[in-house]
């Protein structure tokens, strides 16, 4: 204990002791002066009698020292000095480690933000999403949809709520774009209509005012809204008196009753305004369009909840076979809902950076081995002088620790810069929860642990092997021959590096090929020179369907008249935005199928000219036109997939269909080519197109084909819209190119990151190979010199070095091939139309590695034969 206290009070005690010693010498000198000596001589004599104060101070200090800590500090100091003396080695090692640790830190913080951090709701692990699951026959009809997450019918939701008992609260949600006016600039906002229980499910109280009550969440209930914190700040300037104020939401007066606290939002359902959903029980609504969120009762397991839900689903299927025969349910935790789809990608990336770190550690280990070989004499001298093995190993490890620390510091900097670039390159929802992404204490802690592990990885083996060296041998042989064992270790390290980078390169190659396949897929439409924007039609002003249909026609007429516009139309959902509604239908010329067995298809509502704007070819029949009037039976266009499936050997044009949706009748007037709608990866589903003029929706996306760069028309088109209705809220003004690019932002990021990591791995492995060969050549300078002096052929010498390099590469590649089979299987779920054993990728990777290997071997081979025999023999 005394010692520990002393360790911290060291400075004070040193000065005290120095003072004591000075006093001692002075006192002695004064005594000598009193005896008659002159002052100068007296001081001199007193000092001589005392001895060397510095030495004595040092000795006094050592009395207190805790050996281990003092040794560590001394080792670190020694290590720093040794590293400063070889700046090139230090720079290469630190840079290598920085790449490895930086990549790990970046991916870890991504994983931490997206997957590890708890969601900002109390008891978030009890929050679940509830989905319907269609029977197999419907899944087969729409292979592109995720069968485990079908949106929910409102009547089924009401029955779930009434017939289950596993949940404390259950809420429906329906995203609804809204036009906000009556306060500042009119603007489009992301609205979410929810049940009153929504706020109970998430367990968050409002910041101001209140949330709505069950009494308000009834058909024709009062129009009340709750605002998000950010909307309140931006649109209302954070005014606390907004509670009770009236605003216009989609032209209808609404009362603001509450403001939610900052950060209250579902990661996969962004909202700025919440309004009561006010579901009509038994309202004859047969669509499935709701999301449902619920909170498990404490102690209820997921399996119990699932059984409870399926039980309810069976009752519902008997109650309403037409809508729900054979439908089941899916209970999904909110965490799986949020990150389930990105988890495999993040884990693959984490695996990749782990490999990069291993390769980096291997490289630095190799550098240390070579450096250690060069220092064997120094170490031998120290051992001969009595330094303990442990102390030497300790000192070598301290050097490694310094390298790791410097590498970590630089790596964290790299990670920070890299993460900013990643987040900036992504559209908001491509990766959930990235707003919580930053380099913080957790991430730094991770890097520090990583740094320690890395130190042991690359530092331990050299430290042990050199401290074990026999000083006698080392002193005698000097630099000339390092042990065969050390050379084998280095070769093994390089082969491992090659193998690991092969795994990475194959993974990256597969991802890149998959990405190219995905973006190069036949989409059925062109994206160039198309301007898009989203509009929501104020429900109050255009509650009349006919008026709404005419309004949209007016808007289109004005836009089409603009100079620079070639064609314009609308679609209620743009391609590549991930949403397509579906419904069932029956052929009028066939007997009515049993209830619940009607076939299903995707439904799209577009204006006339849509196919022309998108440059989607027509295969038969005609486009919508002015004769397809509101109120008449619907004109229908079907896609090729629909025609093939439901009219395999017939011409569908002229046939009549009954649509379950809105119970409408329609006649097929045309057949369009297939287009990809939800996602580039999803093959076209059978689709029925309806005419916006006949079935007007409450919202639409304008698509405008321009003769000039599309964004230059953005202002003109918006003005044309506002000329018809100055209060029309417009959002998401962007080009179709950007819409498509955003839809593949995540796969692009994944393949890019994997590519970067694989590139780093390749460079590191090649540098490692080069290092080993170059070092071996240097070691053999004398041997080569003798052989050349004896007339050996320089070409043959060169080939020898080359062969040695290639042997390392080829053996490493063979290992990599064996290793790659395992991990690449995990990438399979992320691949689009590329097999994990894609021969082309493997061949390309092998070729790249071979070429890199030849380059890395060529330079040392050249150097070997550039040796001047005379010089080389004198070299020692």
């Amino acid at each position: 204990m005394n010692r520990l206290r002393h360790l911290f009070a060291r400075r004070r005690i040193d000065t005290e002791l120095a003072e004591e010693i000075r006093g001692h010498i002075e006192e002695r000198a004064e005594e000598l002066i009193a005896e008659g000596m002159n002052p100068d001589d007296a001081l001199h004599a007193a000092r001589a009698q005392f001895g060397n104060p510095t030495f004595l101070l040092e000795e006094s200090r050592e009395v207190w020292s805790i050996m281990a800590i003092d040794n560590l500090i001394r080792d670190l100091r020694l290590g720093a000095r040794a590293l400063r003396k070889s700046p090139l080695f230090t720079a290469v090692a630190v840079l290598t480690l920085a790449l490895g640790i930086g990549a790990n830190t970046a991916i870890f913080s991504l994983i931490d933000a997206v997957m590890l951090r708890p969601l900002p709701f109390p008891d978030a692990n009890r929050i679940v999403m509830l989905w319907e699951v269609p029977p197999k026959r419907i899944q087969a009809a729409s292979p592109g949809n995720d069968p485990t997450q079908n949106t929910v019918s409102p009547v089924n939701f009401l029955d779930w709520r009434a017939r289950t008992h596993s949940f404390t609260a259950m809420s429906a949600m329906e995203p609804f774009p809204m036009g906000l006016s009556g306060y500042g600039e009119p603007r489009a906002v992301d609205g979410l209509r929810v049940s009153a229980d929504y706020f109970r499910v998430l367990g968050v109280a409002p910041l101001l005012g209140r949330t709505f009550t069950a009494a308000e969440d009834v058909p024709n209930g009062p129009p009340v809204v709750v605002l998000s914190y950010s909307l309140w700040k931006e649109q209302f300037g954070g005014d606390r008196t907004v509670i009770g104020r009236h605003i216009q939401i989609s032209d209808a007066p609404c009362t603001i009753i509450g403001v939610m606290p900052q950060g209250f939002d579902l990661p996969f359902r962004h909202a700025e305004v919440w309004a009561p959903i006010q579901i009509q029980p038994g309202g004859g609504d047969e669509g499935r369009y709701l999301n449902v969120i619920a909170k498990l009762k404490p102690g209820v397991t997921m399996a119990e909840a699932q059984a409870d839900m399926n039980n309810a689903a069976r009752q519902i299927a008997q109650l309403r076979p037409f809508l729900s025969r054979d439908w089941t349910t899916n209970v999904l935790s909110i965490y799986d809902q949020t990150t389930g789809k990105v988890r495999p990608a993040l884990l693959v990336l984490f695996g990749a950076v782990t490999l990069v770190l291993l390769i980096a550690a291997g490289n630095v280990g190799n550098l240390l081995l070579m450096r250690g070989a060069g220092r064997q004499r120094e170490i031998a001298v120290r051992v001969a002088l009595g330094a303990g093995r442990a102390r030497i190993a300790g000192q070598l490890l301290a050097e490694s620790l310094l390298l790791s620390l410097a590498g970590s510091a630089a790596g964290v900097g790299l990670a920070y810069a890299g993460l900013r670039a990643i987040v900036a390159s992504l559209p908001a929802l491509a990766l959930p929860r990235t707003e919580g992404l930053h380099v913080d204490a957790r991430v730094l802690g991770f890097s520090l642990v990583l740094c320690m592990i890395t130190t042991l990885l690359f530092g331990l083996a050299p430290a042990l092997s050199f401290s074990r060296a026999n000083p006698d041998d080392a002193l005698k042989s000097g630099l000339r021959n390092t042990s065969r064992g050390a050379h084998r270790t280095r070769a093994l390290l390089v082969m491992t590096e090659v193998a690991l980078s092969m795994v990475l390169l194959v993974g990256a190659g597969l991802m890149v090929r998959s990405f190219v396949r995905q973006t190069g897929v036949e989409r059925g439409f062109r994206t160039d020179r198309i301007l898009t924007m989203r509009m929501f039609f104020a429900t109050a002003g255009y509650s009349d369907n006919g008026r709404r249909a005419r309004y949209l026609e007016d808007v289109l007429t004005r836009v089409r008249a603009l100079p620079g516009v070639e064609a314009a139309s609308t679609a209620h959902f743009l391609p590549m935005t991930g949403i397509v509604p579906g419904s069932c239908f029956t052929r009028a010329d066939r007997p009515e199928p049993a209830e619940g067995f009607a076939p299903t298809a995707d439904f799209m509502t577009v204006s006339s000219g849509y196919f022309a704007v998108m440059r989607t070819p027509f295969l038969a029949g005609r486009d919508f036109n002015d004769h397809d009037r509101f109120g008449d039976d619907a004109a229908l266009i079907v896609n090729q997939a629909f025609a093939r499936r439901f009219f395999p050997n017939e011409d569908p044009v002229g046939h009549q269909l009954h649509l379950c949706w809105n119970a409408r009748h329609g006649t097929i007037v045309g057949v369009s080519a297939n287009t990809r709608q939800t996602d580039l990866k999803v093959a076209p589903n059978p689709t029925i197109f309806l005419d916006q003029a006949q079935v007007p929706m409450y919202f639409a996306a304008l698509v405008v084909r321009t003769a000039v760069p599309p964004m230059t028309m953005a202002r003109g088109v918006q003005e044309a819209v506002h000329a018809v209705d100055p209060d029309q809220a417009i959002s998401d003004v962007e080009t179709m190119d950007d819409v498509v690019a955003e839809s593949v932002a995540r796969p692009r990021l994944e393949s890019m990151l994997l590519g970067v990591f694989a590139g780093i791995a390749l460079v590191l492995a090649v540098v490692g190979l080069y290092g080993v060969l170059a070092y071996a050549v240097t070691q053999q300078t004398r041997e080569i010199g003798i052989r050349m002096a004896l007339g050996a052929d320089s070409g043959r010498l060169r080939r020898e070095v080359l062969t040695r390099g290639l042997r390392l590469i080829v053996i490493g590649m063979a290992g990599g091939l064996a290793l790659a089979v395992g991990p690449t299987r995990y990438v399979e779920s992320m691949l689009y139309e590329v097999k994990p054993t894609d021969p082309l990728t493997f061949a390309a990777v092998a070729a790249a590695l071979l070429i890199a290997g030849v380059l890395a071997s060529w330079l040392p081979a050249r150097r070997a034969t550039a040796v001047d025999p005379v010089l080389s023999l004198r070299w020692e």
Partner: protein, 112 residues
Amino acid sequence: MDNTRRELFPGALEMMVLQTLRRGPLHGYAIAQQIRQTSDDLLTIEEGTLYPALQRLLREGWVEAEWGISSTNRKVRNYRVTPAGRKQLQRELSSFERMLAGVTRVLRPNES
């Protein structure tokens, strides 16, 4: 350097310091003086070595130190032997005497 300096066996200096302090607290210089005088200058130590020895004694808790003013009006650190130090001195003295007896017997083999 001091050629007449006698090598002491390890721990001897500490024993002498403890013995000197038994009569009362002293500061470093005074301890050195005392040792020189009592040994009649036979035992000349390099005075500075006193200080590491004092630190060792402090570390073991055998002496305590306290800053004060000396008779010559100088700020000095006074050392005082602790009860544990006294006990240690007893132990050391008896083992020293046993050792001395042994050494004496070896150096004068004729008497045995």
